[in-house]
């Protein structure tokens, strides 16, 4: 009797150990390809990084000394324009949800739409920006790409702004209102500054997300081998350049695609890390 109990106990213990070990192994395996990606990126791309690579314009395949200056500048212009369009309206919508709409039916509808929009594939947003901007203007343009990216960042910024502003204690609002400050000034001068770090975090996360997007730019910004600062012209961007180069039949373009990937991933990772550090500061302040 005692013996059988002991055997069962032993079996349960062994089973426990086997399964836990399996879980740990399964949990570690997916980390491998991710590290391989990072490792290979730097291994293959580091040799193409040089000052010329940053300062030169693309060269025809086979010609040495080609750079990615136009794509870097283009990425900053397109993403900057997208932020100019997307951020103010998103923050206002976030303010509406946390300060005015709250639990109303309309506010819930806004939240639901923002959440649904977050799941809309980026290629579909590219089609929409094509119909809204490229078709009326009659040509591809950086502006169309910015519209697509602005649409993509809106849901992210709206939801984080709302969440952060909701954390602002009501005492602050009441104190400000008691001093006779109108509600709109209370929101702008008390509530928003209190939540500013969190709002910035949301914006950075959104910018990091759109900076690496390729699909919405394919038929909007389109890409351009030449330098341009005009947002009404087709413009190159890092993700577009990586895509076009890697799908080309030229080996030196592949090489440059790896180099451009290092630049892009560095931008995206820096934005992400900055947002986490800020987010941690918010958590610390609470």
């Amino acid at each position: 009797m005692n013996n059988t109990n002991n055997v069962r106990y032993q079996w349960r213990r062994t089973k426990n150990q086997i399964i836990l070990a399996t879980i740990a192994v399964l949990a570690i395996i997916p980390a491998i390809p991710l590290f391989v990606i990072l490792f290979q990126l730097f291994q293959k791309g580091i040799s193409s990084l040089s000052i010329d690579f940053f300062l030169n314009l693309p060269a025809p395949p086979g010609e040495p000394g080609g750079g990615i200056k136009n794509a870097i500048v283009g990425t900053f212009i397109i993403v900057g324009l997208a932020s100019l369009m997307g951020v103010p309206i998103s923050i206002m919508a976030g303010i509406y949800l946390s300060e005015y709409g709250k639990e109303s039916k309309f506010a819930h509808l806004v939240r639901m739409c923002a959440d649904i929009f977050q799941g809309v594939p980026s290629i579909v947003i590219g089609i929409i920006a094509y119909a809204w901007v490229v078709k009326p203007l009659g040509k591809f343009s950086a502006l169309a790409g910015s519209v697509a990216l602005a649409i993509m960042m809106i849901p992210v910024v709206v939801r984080t702004t709302e969440e952060v502003l909701r954390l602002v204690p009501n005492i602050l609002r009441e104190a400000s209102l008691a001093l006779g400050v109108p509600y709109w000034r209370t929101v702008l001068k008390v509530v928003l500054p209190t939540g500013m770090v969190g709002v910035t975090t949301g914006v950075l996360i959104a910018v990091a997300r759109i900076a690496g997007e390729t699909a919405p730019l394919l038929f909007t910004a389109f890409g351009n081998p030449f330098m341009t600062y005009n947002p009404l012209e087709p413009m190159n961007a890092l993700p577009l350049l990586i895509f076009n180069y890697s799908m080309s039949p030229y080996e030196d373009w592949w090489q440059q695609a790896w180099g451009a990937s290092i630049v892009l991933i560095t931008i995206v990772l820096l934005l992400n890390i900055a947002s986490r550090i800020l987010a941690r500061r918010v958590a610390g302040e609470k």
Partner: protein, 295 residues
């Protein structure tokens, strides 16, 4: 004296600001409505011309103006579900490991790195897959006697699996973390082993959250464009095995949109419309599961 001057404008500003805020909220709703209407208008010639047979037809020949979306619908579903099947066991194990087993000191940095890696742009996954994964798969296909394309449905699914894993994992991990300590302690108090506690208490508690994470990951897989476009081989025939070349709804749009005109363009927008509707439904389902976890 000053009061009268101030009170009136400030009331107006209050209203102006409120309407601005309300208007911005309205914009979010209008964006979705306007997107849907835009897609329907732009694809109307195709909807009118081909009707429902568009979904079931397998012919895709832009020169002959024959358009059937079935190869792409099959391609999308096949790659997405294959990716889910590959990713789910790892995501679940990872979620249990990071949410329950690993001590905080290990779990936190790993979670941090994982979230950073989730931010890698998909075009970079595509680049890596094209030059690293494709040759490996090709060698494997030669060994088992499949056509050695290297590219194809299976390769695309594998890249997708790697890409969606962090999403499924982090949602599941967060819910597993939420499991109250007294429930776990009750199980331990009854003499349960750690695994028995996980299986009997934590997993049932976190069930809807885990499902929500998987469905969210499915939503991402369905709409993922770049990495898939780069490795799926872009063939518009109906795939007959997972080693075949193929195309997904997203990849065919990415490949053909810029060269398309007239009816061809409308057909591609209709595929976009289908994709839009499918992903909205999938995300709504995920939301239902997320709401369930909160109750």
């Amino acid at each position: 004296m000053n009061d009268k001057k101030l009170s009136l404008p400030s009331k107006i500003w209050d209203d102006v600001f409120r309407y601005l805020a309300f208007g911005s909220g309205l914009v979010v709703i209008l964006l979705i409505v306007a997107s849907l209407i835009t897609l329907i208008i732009q694809s109307w010639p195709a909807i009118k011309h081909y009707g429902l047979s568009f979904i079931w037809s397998t012919d895709w020949d832009p020169l002959a103006e024959k358009y059937g979306a079935l190869p792409f619908i099959v391609g999308t579903l096949l790659t997405s579900f294959l990716a889910l099947i590959i990713a789910t066991p790892f995501a679940l194990a990872g979620a249990i490991f990071l949410g329950e087993l690993a001590p905080k000191k290990i779990a936190e940095p790993i979670s941090f790195i994982m979230e950073l890696l989730a931010g890698i742009p998909s075009v970079i996954y595509g680049l890596w897959a094209l030059f690293f994964l494709v040759p490996i798969i090709r060698a494997f296909q030669m060994k088992i006697g499949a056509p050695p394309y290297g590219l194809g449905i299976f390769t695309a699914s594998l890249v997708l699996a790697i890409m969606i894993l962090p999403y499924a994992l982090s949602v599941a991990r967060d819910v597993i973390k939420l499991c109250p300590n007294d429930l776990k302690e009750a199980a331990y108090g009854l003499g349960a082993t750690r695994w028995e506690t996980i299986r009997g208490v934590i997993l049932p508690y976190a069930k809807s959250g885990i499902v929500a994470g998987i469905v969210l990951a499915l939503g991402r897989a369905l709409g993922e464009t770049m990495a898939v476009t780069m490795v799926i081989g872009n063939s518009s025939t109906l795939p007959s095995s997972i080693w075949d070349l193929g195309n997904t709804m997203a990849s065919v749009i990415a490949n053909e949109f810029n060269e398309a005109q007239g009816l061809h363009l409308a057909v591609l927008v209709e595929i976009g419309l289908l994709l839009f509707i499918i992903t909205v439904i999938v995300n709504l389902i995920a939301r239902i599961f997320i709401i369930k976890t909160r109750v």
